[in-house]
Each structure stands twice: as C-alpha cells, then as structure tokens.
C-alpha cells in the first residue's frame, strides 16, 4: 500500500500545477487576494485600535474620575447653583463605604504655571499634585527615574516627575534630567522622573504637559487647604464600574448635602464606558473585516473550483490514460484534491507572508524615535486559523472537480479528439 504522502505523489501534483503556470497563477490569485485582504484588514484594524487606545495611554481601563460642579437643584435649604469642592474626607469615606473600590486617589491641578530651569529656559505646564497610588489610575511610562512614592508625600519633599513635552522644552540637549532642579512659582523641585505617556486624555492636563509633585507639597505651596480637584478611583478586578458609580455618587452627595437626584452637581468620567464603546466599535469593524475577507476568500475558492473543473475537463484524456494503466478512482480523487489544496495553500500562505511584510512596512513608517506607536500585526492565531481554513477550503474547492474526474472512464482516453 502506498503511503498517503510521499515525494512521488507530491511530484505528480507539482508537475500538474507547474505544467500550466499562468492558469495556476491566475487561479491562485483569487485565493491570494482574499487572504491578503483579510490579513491586511485584520492587521490594520488591530493597529488602528491600538492607535486609538493610545489616546488613553496609561489610563487603567476601569478608572472613574469624579469632578465637582455647581448644583442644579436646591436641597436642604441650599439654593441651586451652589459651588462645592471635593475634599480629603471624600477619599477616606469612599474607601470605607465602598469596599469594591481598589484605589481612591485625590489630585489637584494648577494650570498655566511657568516651569523654569534657568532664566533662559522655561516651559508652560500644569502643576499637578498627586499621591504615589495615582500610578494605579494612570500608569506612568517612565523614561528616566521613578514615580513619586509615599515618602515623598509624607515628608512633603520638593521633587517632581515631568512630562514628555516639558522635558523636551527644558532639556533640548536630551540626556537624563534626574537631580536637576526646576523652579515653579519660586519653589525649587528636584526632577526624579520623566513620564513618557502620550495619551491625549486631558482630564487635568495631558501627562506630557505636566509637572507632578507630591500632593501634600502642592497643598502647602498653593494654600489649597482641604480641597481636592479630582477624585480618581479604580474598581477591584471583576467589578463593573457602572455597578459601583451610583454608590459612589450617593456617598459623596450625602456628605456634601447634594440632592441625590441632581445629575449636574458632580460629573463622573467612567473610562470603562469609553473603553467599552471603543471595544464595541472595533468588534463591529472586525465583524465587517471578516465578512469582507471571507467573502473575497470564498469568491477566490469558487474560482479555484471553477478552474479545476475546466482543468479536469481538459485533462479527460490524461486522466483516462492514468485510469487505463491502473490508477484507481481514489488515486485520481486524491490527486485532484491534493492539487487543489496545494494551490490554495501556496496562494494563501504567500498572501499571509506578503500581508505581514506590508504591515511591517506600515509599522516601520509609524515608528518615531525608535519607539513603535502601534503594532500593525496579524495575530499569530489568526494566521494559524487562516492556514487551517485554507486547507479546508482547498478540499472543498477540489471536491466537485474531483467528483467529475472520478467519473472519467478509461475508455474516454481512447477516443480521438
């Protein structure tokens, strides 16, 4: 008994495919194009998703930010239109009353400050006061040094972490700025870190425009008293933010005597909601990509089937001869299906390789300062799935022509054209 695969069988198949190069090429092109589009679109979609996610760079996906605003309803003797502020009491209260919260971190921000390195070099920046645990809300991408720590805050150290743009303006020569001193409003702060985050979310100024100092230091330097500007929190893993926010609102509203039904008195920015929207958007886009890709692929496969059909017709004599000299119908079936598989696989694989090359080119174009902005790549398992799918489609494409080939009787070979 013959082995299922041996070099002989393979040579037979290759012979048949290579014999008619242009036809094989055109046939394969249908499949090639289908797979190429599918891979390019999935890879591209992935990349654009990453690119969009970049806007939220550093932000934890289950973050919520509370901002105080003026009331729109009178409550407990207060008129409407009252301004109120969040304070440190809210931080502790939330931590105690809502156990689902992981990190509750206050920040203050002071806009339009001038940060100077010396009398000639200065930059406009937002001075933010934050605690060490703010890193859980917006993860810093540290190019140099470290983030603020608890000791910085407790000892009210005059240290700062500067953003990318601030760094570039103050240190145009590059290199590590650690240990350098910057002056803001007459106080000097030692640089302990550079945050390379590039997110465009500007809740209280972009990360790249910021000079972050310990919140206790900010409180003292700017006489902020008990006031905080933003209250950021994350939920514990597995907890949906939207389930927690009503409780958070309730706790804060009770403490500040706000009408619980007042929707305007405080604003909650729930990043999970935004991430959800983006996620859904890309799920939709992905669905369309697969729809188009698979459609094109299917058209290609039908093309292969069609051409194989013609090819079988054309090869009636050849197949008849093979049958006359002893090929069994199964051997003929095997040959036609194998030809179809090889044709589909070779076309499909080169499409995968080609699309990966193109995507790498896109990546190269997107790379700035040696840092990749977003990976435009075909996920490994997508490629594997595509390969398996191709083999299956190859069989399917070969079935009908093979069935026809099996019906060819050896007698057909003897008929003269």
């Amino acid at each position: 008994m013959k082995k299922w695969f041996d070099t002989d069988t393979f040579r037979e198949i290759l012979d048949s495919i290579l014999r008619n190069k242009s036809r094989s090429l055109l046939t394969g092109f249908g499949v090639f194009w289908g797979v190429f589009m599918l891979m390019l679109l999935t890879g591209g979609g992935q990349g654009f998703k990453q690119l969009l996610m970049k806007e939220f760079d550093g932000f934890a996906q289950n973050t919520c930010i509370v901002i105080a605003s003026s009331t729109s309803k009178p409550y407990k003797g207060f008129e409407k239109g009252r301004n109120w502020n969040l304070d440190y009491g809210d931080v502790d209260r939330l931590k105690n009353m809502v156990p689902e919260l992981e990190t509750v971190s206050p920040t203050v921000s002071l806009w339009g400050k001038t940060v100077s390195r010396d009398e000639y070099t200065s930059s406009r920046a937002v001075v933010k006061g934050a605690r060490a645990d703010y890193a859980n809300i917006e993860t810093p991408k540290l190019k140099y040094g470290r983030w603020l720590n608890d000791a910085d805050n407790l000892q009210e150290r005059k240290v700062c972490v500067i953003g990318k743009r601030v760094y570039e303006e103050l240190f145009p020569e590059g290199g590590s700025p650690l240990g350098k001193r910057l002056s803001v409003d007459g106080s000097y702060y030692t640089v302990v870190g550079v945050n390379w985050n590039e997110g465009d979310i500007s809740v209280d100024g972009r990360a790249s425009d910021s000079v972050v100092i310990p919140i206790n230091q900010a409180k003292r330097a700017y006489n902020l008293g008990n006031t905080i500007h933003l209250l950021c929190f994350t939920a514990k893993p597995g907890i949906t933010m939207s389930d927690v926010t009503p409780r958070v609102k309730e706790v804060i509203a009770r403490r500040h005597l706000l009408d619980p039904t007042d929707e305007q008195a405080m604003f909650l920015l729930n990043t999970q909601l935004i991430f959800g929207i983006v996620d859904n958007l890309f799920k939709g886009i992905n669905f369309l990509i697969w729809l188009i890709g698979l459609g094109t692929l299917l058209a290609g496969v039908i093309g292969v089937s069609n051409i194989m059909m013609v090819s079988v017709k054309e090869r009636t004599t050849e197949i008849g001869i093979r049958r006359a000299i002893g090929a069994t119908p199964n051997q003929i079936l095997g040959q036609i299906i194998s030809e179809s598989i090889v044709l589909t696989l070779v076309a499909g694989m080169s499409a995968i390789v080609f699309s990966v090359l193109i995507l790498s080119g896109v990546e190269l174009a997107m790379t700035t300062d040696g840092m990749l902005k977003a990976p435009f790549q075909v996920p490994f398992w997508t490629a594997v799935l595509a390969a398996v799918l191709l083999a299956v489609l190859g069989v399917v494409a070969g079935l009908m022509p093979a069935a026809r080939a099996m019906q060819i009787k050896p007698v057909d070979a003897m008929r003269d054209e």
């Binding site: 004599t317 008849g320 001869i321 000299i325 002893g326 069994t328 050896p410 007698v411 070979a413 003897m414």
Partner: protein
C-alpha cells in the same frame, strides 16, 4: 486458455438502444498473436474495451486467466488492468508533460513501486526498444514511431500477460507501421506475450498469426494466418 468469452452481449443505451455485441464466443490461447478485424461500427473496439476491462458487458461470461471478470469494483478492475493488461493506443496516449521515461514509469507508480526501482526498470525497457537516448525527451519532441515504442514500453513494464493494441499503426506512416508490427511480432515470439491487435487494415492483420473477423457484433470467420499471405503479404495504407 487465457481468454475465454462466452455469449457476450453489450448494448449501449444513448437515447436509443444500440446492440453492439450480439453473442461473442472467443477463445485465445496464451502466446497467440491475433488480430481482430472489422469495419467501423462492427463492434471491434467495444470488444477490445471489454477484453481490457475498460468496459463491462451485459450478458455472458469473460474469463481472463481463469478469473471471471464480471461486476468488478473500480478498484479491482484498475488492479487487474494494471497487472494483467498492457495497452497500446492508436493516438499513443502518452502524457504530454511527462518525459518518455516518466511515461513508462507511470504504471509502476500506481503499483506503488519505489522511484529508483521504477526508473531503472523504465530505462531497461526503453533500452530494449532502442530509446535510451530519448528517455528525457517529451512526447512532442519524438516521431510517431518513437512515441508508439514508448507506449509499448509502458505497456510492457508491468509484465502483463496480454498486450491489447487498438489500431497501433493508425497514426503512423507505412514504414513505421511495419516497424511497429515487427516489434510486436518479435515480442510475441521472444517473450511469448499474448498480443491482440484491433485493426481495420488488412495489411496490419496479415502480420498476425490469426485473424478474427467481426461483423455486426458477431464473430465471422476465424482465419489461420501462419503463412502471412492473407492480404498479399504487405501493409497497404
């Protein structure tokens, strides 16, 4: 008795029934060199197809080397064809994208013989037929006579008991025709092969030892032709 046909009937049914073979009784001994002669439409090709297990019959029995050939599965008939019968066709029926030696190898490929052995055997047979230097040529680079010799080598390589030749000289000029018939005669005499040639040409039939005339689906005269004088002793084109 190598071939034993009894009361073979065959009817083609393409729209209206066509009764082609109307009771063929025929015995062919091992080592015979016979020709089947008849006008077109006489049923000689159908008979050859049945002998070659390329087609089945409706009635009667066909014993090949003692085995009843009837209602075989495709797989079995492919196997019998492969091992017992060698075909030589009018239009050579070589596969055009394979070289001479690859064409000769093909039946062994379907027997599952390894490539090296296959190649050696094919070369041996090509040598026997004086085609060694044409081994790596494609069919369209060869003359008609050479092509037919390649086809004969292909028919011989499985060491069959019967060679069935369907108008083997039909596409050849008279000089080459003589050569091919000489070759078949030589194979018959030297190797003891049973050879059945189907033809409508008297000159070709005359080269064989026995001429079986078939007319309107039944066997007519069976002519002993040891002296090869039936048709004036030459191939007439």
């Amino acid at each position: 008795m190598l071939i034993e046909l009894k009361g073979i009937h065959k009817t083609y049914d393409n729209g209206q029934p066509l009764h082609v073979l109307k009771g063929i009784d025929l015995n062919i001994e091992k080592g015979e060199f016979v020709s089947i002669m008849g006008a077109s439409g006489s049923g000689k090709s159908t008979l050859l197809n049945i002998l070659g297990i390329l087609d089945n019959y409706d009635e009667g029995t066909y014993h090949l080397g003692g085995t009843l050939i009837k209602d075989l599965s495709e797989r079995q008939s492919a196997d019998y064809r492969n091992r017992m019968i060698g075909f030589v066709f009018q239009s050579f029926n070589l596969i055009s994208f394979k070289t001479a030696v690859e064409n000769v190898e093909l039946p062994l490929y379907y027997q599952g013989v390894g490539r090296k052995k296959r190649h050696d055997m094919a070369m041996e047979y090509l040598e026997k037929l004086g085609l060694t230097q044409w081994a790596s040529h494609f069919p369209n680079e060869m003359s008609g006579g050479q092509k037919q010799r390649v086809a004969i080598a292909r028919a011989l390589i499985t060491k069959p008991q019967i060679i069935l030749a369907d108008e083997p000289t039909g596409a050849l000029d008279s000089k080459t025709s003589v050569e091919v018939m000489q070759l078949l005669k030589q194979l018959n005499q030297e190797e003891g092969l049973t050879i059945i040639v189907v033809t409508h040409e008297g000159g070709v039939a005359n080269e064989t030892d026995k001429i079986i005339h078939i007319k309107d689906g039944i066997i007519g005269e069976i002519e002993e032709n040891r002296s090869h004088s039936a048709w004036g002793g030459s191939i007439i084109k």
